[in-house]
Symmetry: C2
Subunit: 343 residues, 2 copies
């Protein structure tokens, strides 16, 4: 079947002749990084489509050493924040001529050798790790050519970057100013006793957020926060907040590691405990997922702008492909406070 | 860089010698379809990992005509239902030794030639189209080898299958029995005047659901439903339901084309109009996304079981790869009613 398919394929020369352009122009039309007038590219792609021509990516990958694949490593694509992220990245990568390979890490955050073996086989041009547990050292064994991109929290430094000197590029997410604004606002509205609703125990993002909040509370002369153990899910958050209050927990402000957990907290407080949000307990989320603005929640939260984050990641991908031998590359974005009804 | 990378790679023979197994065993260990004892495979993969060996997928794809890539075409990965679907499919494909390529169609549902050109270049083993607007005829030009898989609604037949006799495999989703149970229940609870809150106008899934509901209402002697134009989003649904009631719409039961829209309807009724759900207006969703069970919504809905759907799609992928020349393959699943608090 494959042999037949190959024989029946027209060549780039046929496309060039039919479109009345040069062979070089055909090659450029299929190379998203090449400079060519948009109308000319559209014309050539149209002719190629009519002739059923397409450059074989496998052959091209072997010839050029570029696979035009970008791998995203995610722990759980079904969580709203990751889904919004991967959706935006897929659209941006596609516009830039890359296809998106999605790899899902195990639920238990354990290291998956098979995943890396496969990833290496596909030889992606770039690897973006949203999964904090796949350390740069592991990825360095898993990909021979791509320099991985990691999301880091330099203000909290919970250890993202400590991994034996392997080269990786980083998207630094600054959160201090946004947390400072949120905590000042919650304190001004009467909050004195804070609780931290965490994400997964192994999560560096959770650790970074918790460390920042603790230091900001201390700086304001407020007592250290109570700890409520969540796992980023709605169900665990709702159960944990219910248990916390029933066991005598008296926080008047809950800072959640993510929005989904904050929604669970809001529902547990209102529907499970008959408390008012924000009058009795204020709740702060993190992410600004779409559900955060749904009227039943109307969640005050810290937003990472998806478009801004996607643009920064795309800059890292392009800069690294332009300069494969460059030292570590960094882009920086900042969270911002979005005030709605819960804090 | 690529040349250096290639030269430094150990061969399968080196892996075989080090692991004290045959060359054939090494090949089998990297072929998820091959029969080999799990402990033996684990041993070989471990040795391969230590030696930094991996079979190059591009080379292997050219040799075998198998790319070990499965393409998913989605219109909007950030919607909760699609995210849950793609997450489950990615996990299942990965377990079966396939990597998942995600392609995102344009927001306006227009046909994207560039997408198909790229897809063809990557030569996927299978293509699953969740995007109804990419017709089998288009995909047949876009993929030379893979037979596309489509989701169909045979009970409503809104035209999914009419596309000039191109070969495709299908996942048939049966919805009649679940809608029948839901409508009977809503009528028993007092509903007399129904409204349909639609998804995107061009969506065949919406058309199929609407056609089924209309015929079921007629069969029960109920008047034809009012039409409220949504687009699957929360914001549009909330605005449309608000406008419908303010313009004098008096439905006592709203059947939404999806859960996200149903959440918008519930919030518009409760927070925008001061109506009680389900006492004044009942609301039925579709999908059973995770947010459907969040306490603020507690949505009665029709569920497509993600695990069941994923298993059926995986059977289609495997059956087609086993029998490339077979006629159209079909798997069937059914929606079921999940009764919660809104109907």
């Amino acid at each position: 079947v494959d042999g037949d398919g190959k024989r029946s394929r027209p060549t780039a020369a046929v496309v060039a002749r039919t479109a009345q352009v040069s062979r070089v122009a055909v090659s450029r039309a299929f190379n998203p990084d090449a400079s060519i007038r948009p109308e000319k590219r559209a014309h050539i792609l149209r002719v190629a489509q009519q002739l059923n021509y397409t450059p074989d990516m496998a052959a091209r990958s072997m010839a050029t050493g570029r696979s035009h694949l970008v791998a995203l490593i995610v722990p759980d694509l079904s969580s709203p924040w990751e889904a919004q992220e991967v959706d935006a990245m897929t659209a941006a990568l596609q516009d830039a001529g890359f296809a998106t390979l999605v790899f899902r890490t195990r639920d238990d955050f354990s290291f998956d050798e098979k995943l890396l073996t496969y990833m290496k086989g596909f030889n992606p041009d770039s690897v973006i790790s949203y999964a904090e547990n796949v350390r740069p050292g592991h990825l360095a064994r898993g990909v021979t050519r791509a320099v991985p991109v990691y999301v880091c929290y330099p203000e909290a430094d919970p250890g993202t970057t400590a991994d034996g000197g392997y080269l990786f590029d980083r998207l630094d997410v600054r959160m201090r100013a946004a947390f400072e604004a949120a905590i000042a606002r919650m304190q001004a509205a009467g909050a004195r006793r804070f609780a931290l609703l965490s994400g997964k125990a192994a999560s560096l993002a959770t650790a970074a957020r918790a460390q920042l909040v603790r230091s900001l509370l201390a700086a304001r002369g407020l007592p250290p926060p109570d700890e409520i153990a969540g796992d980023y899910s709605y169900d665990t958050a709702a159960r944990a907040v219910l248990a916390y209050v029933r066991a005598g927990g008296r926080a008047d402000a809950i800072v959640s590691a993510n929005d989904v957990g904050a929604c669970g907290a809001v529902d547990a407080l209102r529907h499970g405990l008959g408390l008012r949000v924000p009058q009795d307990v204020q709740v702060l989320g993190f992410d600004d997922i779409r559900m955060a603005h749904w009227q039943s929640y109307d969640l005050t939260t810290l937003q990472i702008d998806v478009a801004e984050r996607t643009a920064a990641l795309m800059r890292l991908v392009r800069r690294r492909l332009d300069e494969p031998a460059a030292g570590p590359l960094t882009e920086t974005i900042a969270a911002r406070l979005v005030v709605r009804g819960t804090a």
